[in-house]
Amino acid sequence: MTSYDKRFSGRKFDEMRKMEAKVGVIKRADGSALFRIGETIAIAAVYGPRELHPRFLQNPETGILRCNYDMASFSVPERKKPGPTRRQVEISLVTEKALLPVLDLKQFPNAVVDVFIEIIQANSGTRCAGISAAALALAHAGIPMKDLVASVSVGKVGNKILIDLDKEEEDVDDATDIPLAVTGRKKEITLLQLDGNVTKKDLVEAIKLARHGCEKINKIQQKALKEFYGSENGQ
């Protein structure tokens, strides 16, 4: 595809799908959140800080963060075999790295903060939705954070730089997908992956677009936290 003039979904090129954020969705967890963008739904739960086993993994200087990203078998049209895949192992790792820069776990030596992300419905942007949900869940769990993290994918379809690709767009020949995560205040980048073909100019434009989108996600995250604590105080 050389020119992509109108998005399949009718969205504007800088328009994200409809979003929803909610905290406290898993009562048993120390913190939890749901983040939905279009048809993609991610749920994140935080357990900890708690004692880390096996013991040799413990760090006496700081607590550590451990993330696990999983796609439910039924979340995609063709059933995904349950259990970890190489893709999931990699996404778990980059998710950890996307969240770590804003966390301060120094006061929890030898401990672990576990984050579990489950994608229960998938239509592109699952790792980004997972990160946006996880950041919220960490805040909800009261883990010391310097900032929030929001995440969205940007990319290039045909000749257009656009935000929040859906499955149909991702499947276009030669589409480029760039998942990014951005910190709330300093707009620093904590996740950056790219698959496809872009120039430096495209990349810079895409990152700026993602920073703009992440600002909006950030507001939705903050609203979700306020709503939760507002209702709790009212009880």
């Binding site: 990699e90 778990s92 790295k97 820069p101 300093k186 980048i189 950056l192 496809g196 430096k200």
Partner: protein
């Protein structure tokens, strides 16, 4: 080695081995290092050493790409290469390394997967790219990519008879590489940006970015490390990668 010493040197714009921040250690690439493999190569960057072997098999295509072959990249981080590696199934570091190599090749279309089709909907070539680091003195990613490309470039197809491979017998048909996408891995340490970090430098890294480029186009990226990066820093890294790609590509003969 004391981490503070490494850090203080870098703060003074110096490195342990006197290299410039954008300078690679000596890179040596050798092919044909293992004769039972369809293709093989060794890449050394300074003391870092990676060997890659190409094996081929006949398989069935995926239903969504009936006329395309595929590549399968795996990495073994064997304890032979570092005191930090342990026996056992591939962990996240090995998986990430393999996937960065895979995506650099796949996304740049260095291989035309259609040329790996034997019979549409039934039989395709599967090209296994198996990466074995033998010595980890930093920058395994770039060394693995260079070794993988060199091994692919020298790989030849095995003989095929009645859809069965006669292993050990080779044809003169080579794997056609349409492009040679080079991957550059940068380290950010405080406000400094370095290429080709050695194992001491890697231990004090704040953030890492791998960029696969071909003739000025960016085909794959992967950020690592525990800290964030600014847009300006990313731009600087892209510029260095694009400036240096020819130099590294010329080493793959």
């Amino acid at each position: 080695m004391d981490n503070n010493y490494v850090l203080s040197l870098i703060q003074q714009n110096k490195r342990l081995d006197d290299r410039k921040f954008d300078e690679y250690r000596e890179i040596k690439i050798e092919t044909g290092i293992s004769k039972n493999a369809e293709g093989s190569a060794r890449c050394k960057i300074g003391d870092t050493e990676v060997v890659v072997g190409i094996k081929m098999a006949v398989g069935e295509p995926y239903t969504d790409s009936p006329d395309e072959g595929t590549i399968i990249v795996t990495t073994e981080l064997s304890p032979i290469a570092s005191p930090l590696f342990e026996l056992g199934p591939p962990g996240s570091q090995a998986t990430e390394l393999a996937r960065i190599v895979d995506r650099g090749i796949r996304e740049s279309k260095a291989l035309d997967f259609k040329k790996l089709c034997i019979k549409k909907g039934e039989k395709i070539w599967m090209i296994f790219i198996d990466i074995y680091p033998l010595n980890d003195d930093g920058n395994l990613i770039d060394a693995s990519v260079l070794a993988a490309l060199a091994a692919l470039k020298h790989a030849r197809f095995p003989k095929l008879e009645d859809d069965k491979i006669l292993y050990g017998e080779f044809t003169s048909k080579k794997v056609e590489l349409e492009k040679l996408p080079i991957t550059f891995t940068f380290g950010k340490i405080n406000d400094k940006i370095l290429v080709d970090l050695d194992s001491h430098e890697e231990t004090v890294i704040d953030a890492r970015l791998s960029i696969s480029v071909h003739e000025g186009n960016i085909h794959a990226m992967q950020k690592g490390g525990d800290k964030a990066m600014s847009l300006e820093e990313i731009e600087k890294m892209v510029d260095i990668a694009i400036k240096k790609e020819k130099e590294l590509r010329s080493l793959i003969k």
